[in-house]
Symmetry: C2
Subunit: 270 residues, 2 copies
Amino acid sequence: MAERADALPPFLERSDTDFMGLSDSIERVIRRLETRRALSEEDRNAIRALPFTYRTLEASTYMVREGEPPQICTILLSGFAYRHKITEKGARQILSLHLPGEFLDLQNSMLEVADHNVQTLTRAEIAAVPVTALHRLVTEHPAVARAMWIDTLVDAAIFREWLVNVGRRDSHSRIAHLLCEFALRLEMAGLASHYRYELPMTQEQIADCTGLTPVHVNRVLKDLGRQGLISRERRSVAIANWEGLSHAGDFNSRYLHYEEGGPGEAALAS
Amino acid sequence: MAERADALPPFLERSDTDFMGLSDSIERVIRRLETRRALSEEDRNAIRALPFTYRTLEASTYMVREGEPPQICTILLSGFAYRHKITEKGARQILSLHLPGEFLDLQNSMLEVADHNVQTLTRAEIAAVPVTALHRLVTEHPAVARAMWIDTLVDAAIFREWLVNVGRRDSHSRIAHLLCEFALRLEMAGLASHYRYELPMTQEQIADCTGLTPVHVNRVLKDLGRQGLISRERRSVAIANWEGLSHAGDFNSRYLHYEEGGPGEAALAS
DNA sequence: CGATCCTTTGATATGTTTCAAGCTTAGTGG
DNA sequence: CCACTAAGCTTGAAACATATCAAAGGATCG
């Protein structure tokens, strides 16, 4: 995987000029799935043979809307995306964030009706796979189905951790936890060093991830800075003290289920 | 399925004197899975042939502990169970509730290490299936795997809804929502009329489901009663005004994914 | 029938929200 | 290249929902 040059170029440009070609992206997706379950060459070829439409989407584009039957399952090639739900009173809760290389909508695709929205966070490139093709793939290739199943289970594990975060941690911990998770996931995806990364979110979006208000998020971020745990400049976040931040956020990476192959907890050590 | 006599007998006795025999319970589990995905007779037989140990567990018994590799996957035959996580500061967040007839630990069983605890809420009867047997089953019977996959996706949908509940609804809505969900799920499982049921939880446990304190839960329950939405007597809850309660809780049953076969939203109508 | 767990209630404390305004940055078009 | 605009960030003051603390009253179980 192409090593990123460090620091400066802003997040969006990064996504625009994707270093990877399309087939490299697909290989990355396959590699990601394989960390969940061994695949045969035939399985891999079946994934490569998946019909799809390549598209570039602007930031904030809806890919799936709650209440609609999912038609396509998208693979995120570059850029970021998120799932969310909106309450009757108009409050938004962000349910999860997604990085390049992830299957975006297995959660909705295997069910009849989408129960939440999926939207791009930044400009993004996607491969849109018709759900019918996906269904055929998983029917004919049980090992792929198994890998995808496990992938969705890890998604569920992340939902659970977020539920704990929002339900039982105070505002400082919630945000610290979010920053730790994002750092580690970017690290694992080879997209950043966890000591410094571009946070592709506004403070309002951070608020919607953590069940807080944007104003309070602002104060907490400032606070975490004052405590020397992070330093910020624009949306660039540098974790100044991983030990401190992960302790503040009560962060334990177990729920990300990286045990096999990846750096996992080891990556945390300086 | 045996029709329950109405009203009086307290929850625990109900579970003790389970009307169903063991094989009836297994059939119920199969029927539940089949609502997710059609199974062949051979698939059904493979489930029936699953080796298991029958056990009765006291209330509050741990079945899986966070950090341990899951050894058994349990089918809940009678009684209730829940998943939870505990933060470093000792706060508990309940992640989900489980009713008789549900596979209890597909979430953990397919992964290497449990990331949360699973515990009985009441006294319960379970069938404990070794995970190795479960792995064999899903490898040899892709349709069963598919049904279980979808089952875990519905679990995930419930996690998401709870995340919205805890993140973006006020205390009244949260509790109203929980009461609605429980009513409908009990109804769908044929375990109660949604107008009256035994809530197998202490107010402290309700607090841990909703990210509140037990004291506040008490006040809110009293309030919901005052508003004429519910009436209570011990832990028996009667929903006096379904329309009102589901509106107060911003409750829409879509996330339970009952669309096929079951009463679903239709069950809500008086 | 004592002991324990659960529920209820009141008084007070506090974390977070709300409201409101000014400020900064990024993007756009003249 | 500057002015304009919209979006996001920052800050302060006041309000509010919920937590905390504390104690008494019920229920349940051995």
